[in-house]
Protein backbone atom coordinates (compact mmCIF):
# COMPACT_ATOMS: atom_id res chain seq x y z
CA UNK A 1 0.00 0.00 0.00
CA UNK A 2 2.79 2.41 0.88
CA UNK A 3 6.00 2.29 -1.09
CA UNK A 4 8.83 4.40 0.21
CA UNK A 5 12.01 4.64 -1.82
CA UNK A 6 15.28 6.33 -1.00
CA UNK A 7 13.66 8.75 1.40
CA UNK A 8 15.97 11.40 2.79
CA UNK A 9 15.43 14.38 5.09
CA UNK A 10 17.77 17.18 6.02
CA UNK A 11 17.22 19.79 8.72
CA UNK A 12 19.67 22.46 7.63
CA UNK A 13 23.00 20.67 7.53
CA UNK A 14 21.84 17.80 9.66
CA UNK A 15 20.95 14.71 7.66
CA UNK A 16 18.38 12.94 9.79
CA UNK A 17 17.21 10.42 7.21
CA UNK A 18 19.77 9.18 4.73
CA UNK A 19 18.28 6.51 2.52
CA UNK A 20 15.16 4.72 3.62
CA UNK A 21 13.43 2.19 1.46
CA UNK A 22 10.55 0.12 2.75
CA UNK A 23 7.18 -1.17 1.73
CA UNK A 24 4.16 -1.37 4.00
CA UNK A 25 1.46 -3.76 2.87
CA UNK A 26 -2.21 -3.52 3.73
CA UNK A 27 -3.07 -5.14 7.04
CA UNK A 28 0.55 -5.12 8.16
CA UNK A 29 1.68 -3.87 11.52
CA UNK A 30 5.26 -2.69 11.51
CA UNK A 31 7.15 -1.51 14.56
CA UNK A 32 10.04 0.84 14.29
CA UNK A 33 12.60 0.59 17.09
CA UNK A 34 16.02 2.04 17.62
CA UNK A 35 18.05 4.48 19.67
CA UNK A 36 16.71 7.99 20.21
CA UNK A 37 17.46 10.65 17.65
CA UNK A 38 18.03 8.28 14.76
CA UNK A 39 15.19 9.51 12.64
CA UNK A 40 12.36 7.18 13.65
CA UNK A 41 9.86 9.94 14.34
CA UNK A 42 11.06 11.99 11.38
CA UNK A 43 10.50 9.00 9.15
CA UNK A 44 6.96 8.61 10.39
CA UNK A 45 6.26 12.32 10.03
CA UNK A 46 7.49 12.24 6.43
CA UNK A 47 4.95 9.59 5.53
CA UNK A 48 2.07 11.96 6.20
CA UNK A 49 4.08 14.98 5.14
CA UNK A 50 4.11 16.73 8.51
CA UNK A 51 7.75 17.13 7.62
CA UNK A 52 8.59 17.47 3.97
CA UNK A 53 11.24 14.98 2.75
CA UNK A 54 14.34 16.36 1.07
CA UNK A 55 14.53 13.51 -1.40
CA UNK A 56 13.10 10.16 -2.43
CA UNK A 57 9.56 9.16 -3.19
CA UNK A 58 6.49 8.09 -1.28
CA UNK A 59 3.71 6.35 -3.16
CA UNK A 60 0.42 5.60 -1.47
CA UNK A 61 -1.77 3.23 -3.49
CA UNK A 62 0.30 4.19 -6.50
CA UNK A 63 -0.12 7.93 -6.03
CA UNK A 64 3.06 9.92 -5.63
CA UNK A 65 2.21 12.22 -2.74
CA UNK A 66 5.36 14.30 -3.16
CA UNK A 67 4.03 15.56 -6.47
CA UNK A 68 3.25 19.27 -5.94
CA UNK A 69 -0.08 18.80 -7.67
CA UNK A 70 -1.36 16.15 -5.28
CA UNK A 71 -4.02 17.15 -2.76
CA UNK A 72 -2.10 16.57 0.42
CA UNK A 73 -4.87 17.29 2.95
CA UNK A 74 -7.08 14.77 1.17
CA UNK A 75 -4.33 12.16 1.31
CA UNK A 76 -3.85 12.84 5.02
CA UNK A 77 -7.51 12.20 5.68
CA UNK A 78 -6.95 8.57 4.87
CA UNK A 79 -3.99 8.34 7.17
CA UNK A 80 -3.99 9.46 10.73
CA UNK A 81 -1.47 9.94 13.49
CA UNK A 82 -1.36 9.30 17.21
CA UNK A 83 1.15 11.56 18.95
CA UNK A 84 3.34 11.16 21.97
CA UNK A 85 1.76 14.23 23.53
CA UNK A 86 -1.80 13.19 22.62
CA UNK A 87 -2.63 16.59 21.04
CA UNK A 88 -6.34 16.50 21.75
CA UNK A 89 -8.26 19.65 20.88
CA UNK A 90 -8.54 21.36 24.20
CA UNK A 91 -11.54 23.52 23.51
CA UNK A 92 -13.70 20.62 22.39
CA UNK A 93 -15.35 17.87 24.41
CA UNK A 94 -14.23 14.31 23.83
CA UNK A 95 -17.28 13.77 21.65
CA UNK A 96 -16.56 16.85 19.57
CA UNK A 97 -12.92 15.85 19.23
CA UNK A 98 -14.11 12.68 17.58
CA UNK A 99 -16.77 14.21 15.39
CA UNK A 100 -15.12 17.39 14.13
CA UNK A 101 -13.10 15.55 11.48
CA UNK A 102 -15.91 13.38 10.12
CA UNK A 103 -18.37 16.26 10.05
CA UNK A 104 -16.12 18.91 8.54
CA UNK A 105 -13.88 16.81 6.34
CA UNK A 106 -15.90 13.74 5.42
CA UNK A 107 -19.23 15.48 5.26
CA UNK A 108 -20.89 13.15 7.71
CA UNK A 109 -24.12 14.26 9.34
CA UNK A 110 -23.96 15.12 13.02
CA UNK A 111 -26.23 12.22 13.91
CA UNK A 112 -24.08 9.67 12.10
CA UNK A 113 -20.87 11.14 13.42
CA UNK A 114 -22.17 11.09 16.99
CA UNK A 115 -23.27 7.52 16.70
CA UNK A 116 -19.96 6.41 15.27
CA UNK A 117 -18.09 8.37 17.94
CA UNK A 118 -20.04 6.65 20.72
CA UNK A 119 -19.29 3.26 19.24
CA UNK A 120 -15.60 4.05 19.11
CA UNK A 121 -15.61 5.37 22.65
CA UNK A 122 -17.21 2.15 23.80
CA UNK A 123 -14.48 0.28 21.96
CA UNK A 124 -11.75 2.08 23.84
CA UNK A 125 -13.70 1.90 27.08
CA UNK A 126 -14.39 5.60 27.53
CA UNK A 127 -18.08 5.92 26.69
CA UNK A 128 -18.83 7.65 29.99
CA UNK A 129 -16.29 10.39 29.24
CA UNK A 130 -18.04 11.56 26.08
CA UNK A 131 -18.94 14.96 27.45
CA UNK A 132 -15.72 15.49 29.37
CA UNK A 133 -12.99 17.84 28.29
CA UNK A 134 -9.39 16.86 27.64
CA UNK A 135 -8.06 18.59 30.73
CA UNK A 136 -10.29 16.37 32.85
CA UNK A 137 -8.73 13.15 31.58
CA UNK A 138 -5.68 11.20 32.64
CA UNK A 139 -2.84 10.63 30.20
CA UNK A 140 -3.93 7.12 29.34
CA UNK A 141 -7.50 8.24 28.77
CA UNK A 142 -6.32 11.11 26.56
CA UNK A 143 -4.34 8.76 24.39
CA UNK A 144 -7.22 6.33 24.05
CA UNK A 145 -9.43 9.21 22.96
CA UNK A 146 -6.73 10.23 20.49
CA UNK A 147 -6.78 6.73 19.04
CA UNK A 148 -10.56 6.78 18.81
CA UNK A 149 -10.31 10.16 17.12
CA UNK A 150 -8.05 8.66 14.49
CA UNK A 151 -10.38 5.76 13.91
CA UNK A 152 -13.36 8.06 13.48
CA UNK A 153 -11.86 9.11 10.16
CA UNK A 154 -11.83 5.52 8.87
CA UNK A 155 -8.18 5.67 7.93
CA UNK A 156 -6.35 3.17 5.79
CA UNK A 157 -3.31 3.34 8.01
CA UNK A 158 -2.62 4.76 11.46
CA UNK A 159 0.82 6.09 12.35
CA UNK A 160 1.81 5.92 16.03
CA UNK A 161 4.63 8.21 17.12
CA UNK A 162 5.80 6.82 20.48
CA UNK A 163 2.26 6.55 21.79
CA UNK A 164 3.18 5.50 25.32
CA UNK A 165 6.44 7.35 25.92
CA UNK A 166 4.77 10.18 27.81
CA UNK A 167 2.62 7.94 29.96
CA UNK A 168 2.90 6.81 33.54
CA UNK A 169 3.86 3.11 33.57
CA UNK A 170 0.47 2.31 35.12
CA UNK A 171 -1.35 3.73 32.12
CA UNK A 172 0.80 2.21 29.42
CA UNK A 173 -1.01 -1.10 29.41
CA UNK A 174 -4.47 0.35 28.90
CA UNK A 175 -3.28 2.13 25.76
CA UNK A 176 -1.33 -0.84 24.48
CA UNK A 177 -4.35 -3.08 24.83
CA UNK A 178 -6.35 -0.76 22.61
CA UNK A 179 -3.62 -0.83 19.99
CA UNK A 180 -3.44 -4.59 20.25
CA UNK A 181 -7.13 -4.85 19.57
CA UNK A 182 -6.79 -2.64 16.52
CA UNK A 183 -4.03 -4.87 15.21
CA UNK A 184 -6.19 -7.91 15.68
CA UNK A 185 -8.97 -6.21 13.72
CA UNK A 186 -6.61 -5.92 10.79
CA UNK A 187 -5.75 -2.21 10.81
CA UNK A 188 -2.57 -1.29 8.97
CA UNK A 189 -0.24 0.41 11.45
CA UNK A 190 3.27 1.82 11.71
CA UNK A 191 4.36 2.20 15.31
CA UNK A 192 7.46 3.90 16.65
CA UNK A 193 7.88 2.56 20.16
CA UNK A 194 10.23 1.70 23.01
CA UNK A 195 7.95 -1.00 24.38
CA UNK A 196 9.80 -4.07 23.20
CA UNK A 197 7.41 -6.70 24.48
CA UNK A 198 4.54 -4.94 22.90
CA UNK A 199 6.38 -4.51 19.59
CA UNK A 200 7.19 -8.14 19.62
CA UNK A 201 3.61 -9.21 20.31
CA UNK A 202 1.78 -7.05 17.87
CA UNK A 203 4.00 -6.63 14.81
CA UNK A 204 4.33 -8.56 11.61
CA UNK A 205 7.64 -6.90 10.94
CA UNK A 206 10.11 -4.96 12.99
CA UNK A 207 12.34 -2.25 11.57
CA UNK A 208 15.48 -1.40 13.48
CA UNK A 209 16.49 2.12 12.52
CA UNK A 210 19.87 3.56 13.27
CA UNK A 211 21.76 6.50 11.87
CA UNK A 212 19.06 7.55 9.44
CA UNK A 213 18.68 4.23 7.65
CA UNK A 214 16.79 0.99 8.20
CA UNK A 215 19.62 -1.02 9.61
CA UNK A 216 17.88 -4.35 9.94
CA UNK A 217 14.41 -5.61 9.23
CA UNK A 218 12.73 -8.87 10.07
CA UNK A 219 10.02 -10.67 11.99
CA UNK A 220 9.85 -10.02 15.73
CA UNK A 221 11.48 -13.34 16.46
CA UNK A 222 14.32 -12.57 14.10
CA UNK A 223 15.00 -9.13 15.49
CA UNK A 224 14.44 -9.72 19.19
CA UNK A 225 15.75 -13.23 19.65
CA UNK A 226 18.25 -13.45 16.86
CA UNK A 227 19.53 -10.08 15.81
CA UNK A 228 21.97 -10.58 13.01
CA UNK A 229 23.80 -7.32 12.79
CA UNK A 230 25.96 -5.99 15.56
CA UNK A 231 24.28 -2.68 16.24
CA UNK A 232 20.90 -4.37 16.47
CA UNK A 233 22.28 -6.87 18.91
CA UNK A 234 23.77 -4.18 21.12
CA UNK A 235 20.52 -2.32 21.15
CA UNK A 236 18.41 -5.31 22.01
CA UNK A 237 20.73 -6.28 24.79
CA UNK A 238 20.87 -2.80 26.20
CA UNK A 239 17.17 -2.65 26.61
CA UNK A 240 17.27 -5.80 28.56
CA UNK A 241 20.20 -5.00 30.76
CA UNK A 242 21.51 -2.61 33.33
CA UNK A 243 25.06 -1.61 34.12
CA UNK A 244 26.63 0.23 37.00
CA UNK A 245 30.24 1.25 37.37
CA UNK A 246 31.87 1.63 40.79
CA UNK A 247 35.23 3.32 41.08
CA UNK A 248 35.59 4.05 44.79
CA UNK A 249 34.43 2.85 48.19
CA UNK A 250 32.35 6.02 48.48
CA UNK A 251 29.70 4.85 46.03
CA UNK A 252 26.12 5.94 46.65
CA UNK A 253 24.23 2.82 47.55
CA UNK A 254 20.87 4.54 47.43
CA UNK A 255 21.44 6.10 43.99
CA UNK A 256 22.35 2.72 42.61
CA UNK A 257 19.36 1.16 44.34
CA UNK A 258 17.10 3.67 42.66
CA UNK A 259 18.46 2.74 39.23
CA UNK A 260 18.07 -0.92 39.98
CA UNK A 261 14.49 -0.35 41.04
CA UNK A 262 13.79 1.50 37.76
CA UNK A 263 15.24 -1.42 35.84
CA UNK A 264 13.02 -3.81 37.78
CA UNK A 265 9.98 -1.65 37.04
CA UNK A 266 10.74 -1.72 33.35
CA UNK A 267 10.99 -5.47 33.34
CA UNK A 268 7.97 -5.67 35.61
CA UNK A 269 9.71 -7.92 38.10
CA UNK A 270 7.85 -9.06 41.22
CA UNK A 271 8.55 -7.27 44.51
CA UNK A 272 10.22 -10.27 46.11
CA UNK A 273 12.66 -10.60 43.21
CA UNK A 274 13.51 -6.95 43.54
CA UNK A 275 14.12 -7.21 47.27
CA UNK A 276 16.33 -10.22 46.81
CA UNK A 277 18.24 -8.47 44.07
CA UNK A 278 18.90 -5.42 46.24
CA UNK A 279 20.02 -7.63 49.10
CA UNK A 280 22.27 -9.56 46.78
CA UNK A 281 23.92 -6.48 45.37
CA UNK A 282 24.42 -4.91 48.79
CA UNK A 283 25.96 -8.06 50.25
CA UNK A 284 28.24 -8.48 47.26
CA UNK A 285 29.38 -4.88 47.54
CA UNK A 286 30.09 -5.36 51.25
CA UNK A 287 32.27 -8.33 50.38
CA UNK A 288 34.10 -6.34 47.70
CA UNK A 289 34.49 -3.33 49.98
CA UNK A 290 38.20 -3.86 50.82
CA UNK A 291 39.03 -3.86 47.12
CA UNK A 292 37.11 -0.80 46.05
CA UNK A 293 39.88 1.69 46.66
CA UNK A 294 42.18 -0.12 44.26
CA UNK A 295 40.05 -1.78 41.60
CA UNK A 296 37.22 -0.83 39.25
CA UNK A 297 34.00 -2.77 39.55
CA UNK A 298 31.30 -3.21 36.93
CA UNK A 299 27.91 -4.58 37.86
CA UNK A 300 25.74 -5.92 35.08
CA UNK A 301 22.17 -7.06 35.30
CA UNK A 302 20.61 -8.97 32.46
CA UNK A 303 17.06 -10.19 32.37
CA UNK A 304 15.91 -12.85 29.97
CA UNK A 305 12.17 -12.93 29.64
CA UNK A 306 12.24 -16.21 27.86
CA UNK A 307 14.26 -17.99 30.47
CA UNK A 308 12.65 -15.85 33.16
CA UNK A 309 16.01 -15.53 34.81
CA UNK A 310 17.93 -12.60 36.16
CA UNK A 311 21.66 -12.74 35.80
CA UNK A 312 23.95 -10.56 37.91
CA UNK A 313 27.58 -10.20 36.88
CA UNK A 314 30.28 -8.60 39.06
CA UNK A 315 33.40 -7.87 37.05
CA UNK A 316 36.44 -6.41 38.77
CA UNK A 317 39.90 -5.43 37.60
CA UNK A 318 43.11 -6.28 39.41
CA UNK A 319 44.90 -9.51 40.21
CA UNK A 320 43.12 -12.81 40.13
CA UNK A 321 41.05 -13.26 43.22
CA UNK A 322 37.68 -14.72 44.12
CA UNK A 323 36.21 -12.61 46.86
CA UNK A 324 33.65 -15.26 47.69
CA UNK A 325 36.32 -17.66 48.74
CA UNK A 326 35.40 -18.60 52.30
CA UNK A 327 38.95 -18.27 53.46
CA UNK A 328 38.92 -14.64 52.56
CA UNK A 329 35.71 -13.73 54.32
CA UNK A 330 35.65 -12.35 57.89
CA UNK A 331 32.37 -14.16 58.53
CA UNK A 332 29.96 -16.20 56.49
CA UNK A 333 26.97 -14.04 57.17
CA UNK A 334 27.02 -12.20 53.85
CA UNK A 335 27.73 -15.29 51.82
CA UNK A 336 24.92 -17.17 53.52
CA UNK A 337 22.46 -14.50 52.57
CA UNK A 338 23.76 -14.42 49.00
CA UNK A 339 23.46 -18.15 48.66
CA UNK A 340 19.92 -18.07 49.95
CA UNK A 341 18.71 -15.92 47.07
CA UNK A 342 20.76 -17.32 44.21
CA UNK A 343 20.42 -20.40 42.11
CA UNK A 344 24.05 -20.52 41.12
CA UNK A 345 27.30 -18.72 41.79
CA UNK A 346 30.14 -18.98 39.32
CA UNK A 347 33.66 -17.53 39.30
CA UNK A 348 35.79 -17.11 36.21
CA UNK A 349 38.92 -15.25 35.24
CA UNK A 350 38.08 -13.65 31.89
CA UNK A 351 40.04 -11.02 29.94
CA UNK A 352 42.25 -10.27 32.95
CA UNK A 353 39.19 -9.57 35.00
CA UNK A 354 37.52 -11.41 37.84
CA UNK A 355 33.99 -12.28 36.85
CA UNK A 356 31.44 -13.57 39.30
CA UNK A 357 28.15 -14.61 37.72
CA UNK A 358 25.17 -15.10 39.97
CA UNK A 359 21.75 -16.20 38.85
CA UNK A 360 18.84 -15.15 41.01
CA UNK A 361 16.37 -17.77 42.13
CA UNK A 362 13.09 -17.74 40.23
CA UNK A 363 10.30 -16.46 42.51
Amino acid sequence: MIKIEHLSKKFGDLEVLKDVTVEIKTGEVISIIGPSGTGKSTFLRCINLLDRPSGGSIRIDGVDILDPKSDVPKVRQKMNMVFQSFNLFFHLSVMDNLTIGPIKLLGMSKVDADRKAMDLLKLVGLAEKAESYPDELSGGQKQRVAIARCMAMDPKIILFDEPTSALDPTMVSEVLSVIRRLAKAGMTMAIVTHEMDFARDVSNRVLYMDDGVIYEVGTPEQIFDNPQKEKTRTFINRIRSFSYHIASPDYDLYAMNAEIETFCDKQILPVKTRQNLLLLVEEMLQIYNPLLSTVLLDINLAYSEKKESLEVVFESTGEAINMLDKSLLPDELGLTLIQSVTESIDYQRVNNKNRVTLILKKK
Binding site: Q286, L333, G334, T336, L337
Partner: protein, 112 residues
Protein backbone atom coordinates in the same frame (compact mmCIF):
# COMPACT_ATOMS: atom_id res chain seq x y z
CA UNK B 1 15.94 5.21 59.20
CA UNK B 2 14.55 6.70 62.37
CA UNK B 3 14.92 5.48 65.94
CA UNK B 4 12.36 6.37 68.64
CA UNK B 5 12.45 5.43 72.28
CA UNK B 6 9.66 5.11 74.86
CA UNK B 7 9.89 4.08 78.47
CA UNK B 8 7.42 1.44 79.59
CA UNK B 9 7.91 0.52 83.25
CA UNK B 10 11.51 -0.68 83.43
CA UNK B 11 11.80 -1.51 79.74
CA UNK B 12 12.91 0.89 77.03
CA UNK B 13 11.00 0.29 73.79
CA UNK B 14 13.14 1.17 70.79
CA UNK B 15 11.13 1.58 67.56
CA UNK B 16 13.08 1.44 64.30
CA UNK B 17 11.60 2.66 61.02
CA UNK B 18 13.05 1.99 57.56
CA UNK B 19 16.05 0.05 56.35
CA UNK B 20 18.87 -1.51 58.36
CA UNK B 21 21.63 -1.65 55.79
CA UNK B 22 25.30 -0.74 55.42
CA UNK B 23 24.38 2.94 55.29
CA UNK B 24 22.10 3.09 58.34
CA UNK B 25 23.70 0.48 60.61
CA UNK B 26 26.31 2.84 62.11
CA UNK B 27 23.51 5.14 63.27
CA UNK B 28 21.89 2.28 65.11
CA UNK B 29 25.11 1.31 66.74
CA UNK B 30 25.75 4.88 67.87
CA UNK B 31 22.26 5.32 69.28
CA UNK B 32 22.45 2.16 71.27
CA UNK B 33 25.87 3.08 72.64
CA UNK B 34 24.39 6.34 73.88
CA UNK B 35 21.46 4.60 75.52
CA UNK B 36 23.71 2.09 77.27
CA UNK B 37 26.00 4.84 78.48
CA UNK B 38 22.90 6.62 79.80
CA UNK B 39 22.21 3.64 81.96
CA UNK B 40 19.52 1.76 80.11
CA UNK B 41 19.81 -1.99 80.49
CA UNK B 42 16.53 -3.44 79.36
CA UNK B 43 15.67 -3.09 75.68
CA UNK B 44 12.75 -4.21 73.59
CA UNK B 45 13.43 -3.50 69.89
CA UNK B 46 10.29 -3.11 67.75
CA UNK B 47 10.82 -4.20 64.11
CA UNK B 48 7.27 -3.47 62.95
CA UNK B 49 8.37 -0.67 60.63
CA UNK B 50 11.60 -2.25 59.40
CA UNK B 51 11.26 -3.38 55.79
CA UNK B 52 14.83 -4.42 54.96
CA UNK B 53 17.83 -5.81 56.77
CA UNK B 54 21.19 -6.94 55.42
CA UNK B 55 24.25 -8.49 56.99
CA UNK B 56 25.43 -5.05 58.07
CA UNK B 57 22.29 -4.65 60.14
CA UNK B 58 22.61 -8.10 61.63
CA UNK B 59 26.23 -7.51 62.63
CA UNK B 60 25.36 -4.32 64.42
CA UNK B 61 22.56 -6.10 66.28
CA UNK B 62 25.06 -8.66 67.42
CA UNK B 63 27.61 -6.11 68.58
CA UNK B 64 24.90 -4.24 70.47
CA UNK B 65 23.70 -7.43 72.13
CA UNK B 66 27.23 -8.08 73.35
CA UNK B 67 27.44 -4.63 74.83
CA UNK B 68 24.09 -5.03 76.58
CA UNK B 69 25.24 -8.33 78.03
CA UNK B 70 28.33 -6.51 79.24
CA UNK B 71 26.16 -4.32 81.49
CA UNK B 72 24.11 -7.33 82.60
CA UNK B 73 21.20 -6.15 80.56
CA UNK B 74 18.67 -7.86 78.33
CA UNK B 75 17.57 -7.33 74.76
CA UNK B 76 14.33 -8.65 73.22
CA UNK B 77 13.19 -8.38 69.59
CA UNK B 78 9.53 -7.95 68.65
CA UNK B 79 7.42 -7.88 65.46
CA UNK B 80 9.94 -9.34 63.07
CA UNK B 81 8.08 -10.32 59.93
CA UNK B 82 8.18 -10.90 56.20
CA UNK B 83 11.47 -10.56 54.30
CA UNK B 84 13.24 -9.42 57.46
CA UNK B 85 12.18 -12.61 59.24
CA UNK B 86 13.46 -14.67 56.33
CA UNK B 87 16.85 -13.04 56.62
CA UNK B 88 16.91 -13.74 60.35
CA UNK B 89 16.00 -17.39 59.71
CA UNK B 90 18.52 -17.92 56.91
CA UNK B 91 21.33 -16.37 58.88
CA UNK B 92 20.50 -18.26 62.00
CA UNK B 93 20.02 -15.10 63.99
CA UNK B 94 16.55 -16.24 64.78
CA UNK B 95 17.94 -18.52 67.46
CA UNK B 96 20.39 -16.01 68.87
CA UNK B 97 17.83 -13.55 70.12
CA UNK B 98 14.61 -14.03 72.00
CA UNK B 99 12.02 -13.06 69.39
CA UNK B 100 8.42 -12.18 70.12
CA UNK B 101 5.47 -11.75 67.82
CA UNK B 102 4.17 -8.67 69.54
CA UNK B 103 5.18 -5.94 71.93
CA UNK B 104 2.70 -7.19 74.46
CA UNK B 105 4.16 -10.62 74.61
CA UNK B 106 7.67 -9.18 74.84
CA UNK B 107 6.60 -7.00 77.75
CA UNK B 108 4.92 -9.83 79.62
CA UNK B 109 7.86 -12.14 79.04
CA UNK B 110 10.14 -9.63 80.63
CA UNK B 111 8.06 -9.77 83.73
CA UNK B 112 6.86 -6.16 83.75
Amino acid sequence: MTIQTKKEATALIVTITGRMDAVTAPEYEKKFSELITAGETFFIVDFEQVDYISSAGLRVLLATAKKVKGVSGKILLANIKGGVKEVFDISGFGTLFPMHDSLASALSASGC
